[in-house]
């Protein structure tokens, strides 16, 4: 209880409140702009949070994460261009409502469902994560090793279309984790005599390359310019009758979203699609879906926000990321010298409670901030990508250099950017590789698990085919 009161005092400090509000606005901007995802914004912000207090840094990142998931629906509803992959299902009924002259109602349903779904997912996070952490406290090296294996196998089997390709990429990620001086034997591995590789490949340049540069390269190949110009858009939140009507859909979507979010490697996009199809299946009027049906917006929007919060359960309690953005956040934990996992709940209880409170506030802020954001910024999201792309590239290079003032990190970022683009285009999603390499920091906590994983990675690196270059 003491730590909760301290967390409450922490969060009400001006710097933290500004972080939550600023994060919410930045998240909405990134999520609503086609070609800029919430994950990319989190990646770009991580180096900038280096000088901030861990509480403030994570409040900023979590606010970006929560609001970006919602705001993908703005351009999906208004322009039929989902700002984020999570909003693909929302396009089906959202844009139909816009065509019928009801964009304000569609946006209102999206705002309301996202906020309620996010709050329910946040509540599940607060209830489930500490219980899971209590169980995980009893874990020793064998359990951690088994959990690392399970995390990677679930990511490769459930989170990817082609299991073999995903497995190869995950093994490549494990191989990346072996670069550097072996802490047990003191022998340099795959360093090519470069002193900057002696401490291993830093996690942040890999993240910036795989998630920001590769995404930017992918987006420049597509035309995202939105030609439709709209006037000032209002958001009409649903009235009491509509709220009452949407209760079962939002509740069902939130429960499904939370469960899917907790499972590693699946994420908010799948949650939104599954919830939409389940809403159609449960509905008494399934023929209305796809024609501008409010439930067709409420189901995916509540579900993707709940999934985003659910994905933080395994991240905080076990140190296993539940989604791409939480894998990126794992990098932020490393940067701030924190180790997510059960010990975080006992040793840093105030920090955890601050994160919990921040999540709830960020989700509630969607309800307050989104109508103003949509009114003021709906047309800003039409920024042409030839302007946006170079800005992202510059921010990526500055971010990767700033962490260690090291040019090797910049070359690594660019190299992983190209690699990520090639993997995404020709081979397999780069997510398993980042999950695999991200498991390195937490493996270091357990010498038994570490040696087991290192053995597996070293053994597999000799059999795994070389990555495309």
């Amino acid at each position: 209880m003491d730590s909760f009161i301290t967390a409450l005092l922490h969060i009400t400090q001006p710097a933290n409140l500004i972080a939550v509000l600023g994060g919410t606005l930045l998240g909405m901007l990134s999520g609503a702009t086609p070609g800029v995802s919430g994950t990319m914004m989190v990646v770009l912000l991580i180096p900038l949070t280096y000088t901030l207090e861990p509480d403030t840094a994570f409040l900023l990142l979590i606010s970006v994460y929560c609001s970006a998931v919602f705001s993908g629906s703005i351009s999906a509803i208004l322009f039929r261009t989902p700002g984020a992959p999570e909003a693909v299902a929302t396009t089906l009924d959202g844009y139909e409502m816009t065509k019928q002259g009801k964009p304000h109602e569609a946006l209102g349903i999206s705002v309301y469902s996202s906020a309620v779904g996010g709050l329910l997912g946040g509540a599940a996070l607060i209830l489930v994560a500490p219980q899971l952490a209590k169980i995980a406290l009893a874990f020793g090296p064998p359990e951690y090793f088994a959990m690392a294996i399970m995390g990677l196998s679930v990511v490769t089997t459930l989170g990817a279309k082609n299991m073999v390709k995903a497995l190869l990429v995950a093994l490549f990620g494990l191989f990346l984790a072996t670069v550097g001086i072996d802490p047990m034997a003191g022998i340099p591995r795959f360093t090519f005599g470069l002193p900057s590789l002696m401490s291993g490949i830093d996690f942040i340049p890999v993240l910036i390359g795989l998630f920001a540069i590769s995404e930017m390269l992918r987006q420049v190949m597509q035309d995202h310019t939105v030609t439709i110009k709209l006037g000032k858009i209002k958001t009409t939140l649903p009235n009491f009758l509509m709220q009452k009507r949407l209760v079962p859909t939002i509740f069902g979507g939130s429960v499904l979203g939370t469960i899917i979010g907790i499972l590693p490697g699946i994420g908010a996009t799948t949650a939104a699609m599954v919830s939409y199809s389940e809403a159609v299946r449960w509905s008494k009027t399934p023929e209305k879906f796809g024609t501008g049906h409010p439930e067709g917006i409420a189901a995916p929007e509540s579900s993707n926000n709940a999934a985003a919060n659910g994905a933080m359960v395994p991240l905080l309690a076990l140190g296993i990321p539940g989604s791409a953005t939480t894998a990126v956040m794992l990098g932020a934990f490393v940067l701030h010298g924190l180790k997510p996992g059960p010990l975080l709940f006992t040793e840093q209880a105030e920090f955890i409670n601050t994160i919990f409170l921040g999540t709830m506030i960020a989700n509630a802020l969607i309800l307050i901030v989104a109508p103003f954001f949509i009114r003021g910024f709906a047309n800003i999201i039409r920024i042409p990508y030839p302007v946006l792309g170079p800005v992202i590239l510059i921010l990526c290079i500055i971010g990767s250099y700033a962490i260690r003032n090291n040019m090797t990190d910049v070359w690594l970022t660019l190299g992983f950017g190209v690699l990520g683009y090639i993997l995404e285009k020709y081979a397999s999603p780069s997510r398993p590789s980042s999950s695999a390499s991200s498991s390195e920091p937490w493996r270091n906590r357990n010498s038994g698990a570490r040696s087991s994983c290192r053995k597996a990675a070293t053994a597999s690196s000799s059999t795994a085919p070389s990555p495309p270059s």
């Binding site: 064998p142 088994a146 399970m150």
Partner: protein, 47 residues
């Protein structure tokens, strides 16, 4: 491995369960495909 120990899979039930789940997860796409085929087959035969 200490004397009298049978390795992590016997010493730690949680680790054993997690490893079994990991192995089973590789069969998940197979099961999903099988289910889809069964569903399509049932719809085609009208059962």
């Amino acid at each position: 491995m200490s004397e009298g120990s049978y390795g992590i899979f016997f010493d730690s039930p949680i680790a054993a369960i997690l490893i079994v789940v990991s192995i089973l997860s590789f069969f998940a796409p197979l099961v999903v495909n099988l289910y889809k085929k069964m569903k399509t087959g049932a719809a085609a035969t009208g059962k």
